[in-house]
Amino acid sequence: MALLEVDGLVKHFVAERSLLGRPRAHIKAVDGVSFSLEAGKTLALVGESGCGKSTVSRLVLRLIEPDAGRIRFEGRDLLALDASALRAFRRQAQIIFQDPYASLNPRMTVGQILTEPLALHDLLPATQRRQRVEELLRLVGLEPRLALRYPHEFSGGQRQRIAIARALAVEPKLIICDEPVSALDVSIRSQILNLLRELQDRLGLAYIFVSHDLAVVKHIADRVAVMNLGRIVETAEADALFAAPRHPYSRALLSAIPVPQPQAKRSTILLQGEMPSALNPPSGCRFHTRCPFVIDRCRREEPQLVADGTGHATACHRVAELPPPGAILPKGGGFSPALAKLVAAFSRKTEGADASGVGIQDASPPTM
């Protein structure tokens, strides 16, 4: 049985009200999204701003209430839970946000931040909580003595580690990672990605990884769902999707990512025009205004997400007739043997007794 099953999720936000308070216009943020997630696996939701990926992640935790659809966690219907059952569920599922500067209370010490979920769910007797806080800090690669510090004393990467420790405090089965590395510098980003993977292996966590960065997604995801304007347009195992993307939108997204390989020969698909508004999504296929393969049927009829035998599903009328994806991703981009060895010198484990990377900064962290 899947850990999480989502079926036909819909969320429309009221964008405009009449004088009497009647809704006049809706933003169709999520419009019929279904997926499932196995325990211990990572599902990535990818797409551009406004595609509804963050809304889905909040619906799954019932941080906002869906208008329609079903969410099952370990077979239980989440939408039927009352307040106390919902609180119990939140022990099983946690969330990490994009901005580690905004998601930690500046007036609480790290120790207090990590103790709060333990106290809230009454998990440990008060006497053992301090020890648990130390364990949690070690788990995310921070020194236990840092429990007495305040969030502003940490750099962005360290704050994200604290946010991860807080999510882990209640020993959840599912963590929703909403753009967890987008605000971080590249060298820090890799530390957090490595940490998330290590924790998954060690604790058997499932992740829903929300991101706009397909290179990061390729690194971390087992399965990928590509979203456009509130709907999933393609979903597949990560390897299959990156090897041969089928939906024209997935192809355009992949081909648009700059690859750090100057001599790369690849075909770039430049989309024309702007992303339509979710306030008034196009009729038929929502991608038809930007799709290079559009035919008349696409404008009239909304394509359904149809899976083939391998579980690779695409919502496109023309999926069978599309040309092969070609060289969207450059081949053979590996490092030279010498460079690979040099890079390996930087690949120490992110965690352990050697705490060289996790001291405290003596100056305030640089800002962008």
């Binding site: 980003r189 890799s190 702007e274 390996a344 010198a345 930087f346």
Partner: protein, 329 residues
């Protein structure tokens, strides 16, 4: 590099004097030059001094707190010595800049047409009518649909990608010789980023302007730059032609950066990480600034600052252990 570079920066230093008397060494002895029609990328992480360098070139650093020394020669002027009047004549004319956040760099209370026309009238003169025609032409050049109508719209009516196009149109208003683009696509979605990068390539081919592109994204560098300077803690640690830099980097920091990005083109089980912190720039270390985080560090590295030395044709590295290949052979 050709004989006469368009812009030549020599020994540029920027120090910020804080209210509490603390001095931050934001940029330290930078030498750079860009030839006509070339694109130079400056890469580095937050706080490495890349944006400060671009603001110093434009003369946009606050005079009270920023102490700028060295020389920036452009078009026969030393920009650091030039009077304000000369700088105002150059900026927006032969020297133009695009910023990261197009919403905060456009004035919300004027139409985009007003803002482009203002720049044309200031530098080129002529009638308002002909300036308006040129503005429409510029909007067309950056592929804004129905520019005759769009020119009278306010910035808030445009999407992020459109606003960045307007910024580019404005920068191009007087056919600049040098365009400085500071993270021009960072705030945009990838499909829009691809459009804007394509636009920059197209415009460069058409106008022959030189570009200094400031970014943290090595993918963007690989796609559009001819030459790259990598900055760390206020210094240039490596400079090389783009192919060289990605194939055989000669500074450990560059190696660490390349290893730490997740890649679409090949898969690494574990990403490289650069442990430790950027040094405190109020008291930069006396030796190599990367020494504390470097896996190849020697005692000599912490003794004296390493020079930026040539390790190959046009390839400079600030590392006494270069060429790095011999460390692993």
């Amino acid at each position: 590099m050709s004989a006469a570079p368009l812009i030549e920066i020599e020994g540029l230093r920027v120090r910020f004097h804080g209210d509490d008397g603390r001095v931050t060494h934001a940029v330290d002895t930078i030498d750079l030059s860009v030839a006509n029609g070339a694109t130079l990328g400056i890469v580095g992480e937050s706080g490495c001094g890349k944006s400060v360098t671009s603001l110093a070139i434009m003369g946009l650093l606050p005079k009270q707190s920023a102490e700028v020394t060295g020389a920036i020669r452009f078009d026969g002027f030393d920009l650091l010595q030039a009077p304000d009047q000369t700088l105002r004549d150059l900026r927006g004319n032969r020297l133009a800049m695009i910023f990261q956040e197009p919403m905060t760099s456009l004035n919300p209370s004027f139409t985009i047409g007003d803002q482009i026309i203002e720049s044309i009238l200031r530098h080129r003169g002529g009638s308002r009518k002909s300036a308006r025609e040129r503005a429409i032409e510029l909007l067309r050049r950056v592929h804004i649909p129905s520019p005759e109508r769009r020119i009278d719209e306010y910035p808030h009516k445009l999407s992020g990608g459109m606003r960045q196009r307007v910024m580019i149109a404005m920068a191009l208003a007087c056919d600049p010789r040098l365009l400085i683009a500071d993270e021009p696509t960072t705030a945009l979605d990838v499909t829009l980023q691809a459009q804007i990068l394509e636009l920059m390539r197209e415009l460069k081919a058409a106008s022959g302007a030189a570009i200094i592109l400031i970014t943290h994204d090595l993918g963007v560098v690989a796609e559009v730059c001819d030459e790259v300077a990598v900055m760390y803690a206020g210094e240039i640690v490596e400079r090389a032609p783009v192919d060289e830099l990605f194939a055989a980097p000669q500074h450990p920091y560059t190696v660490g950066l390349l290893g730490s990005i997740p890649r679409l083109d090949h898969r690494a089980e574990q990403l490289a990480t650069i442990e430790g912190m950027v040094p405190n720039m109020a008291q930069p270390p006396s030796g190599c600034r990367f020494a504390a985080r470097c896996p190849f560090v020697l005692e000599a590295c912490t003794k004296a600052p390493p020079p930026l030395a040539e390790v190959g044709h046009g390839h400079l590295s600030r590392c006494i252990r270069a060429p790095l290949e011999r460390l692993v052979s």
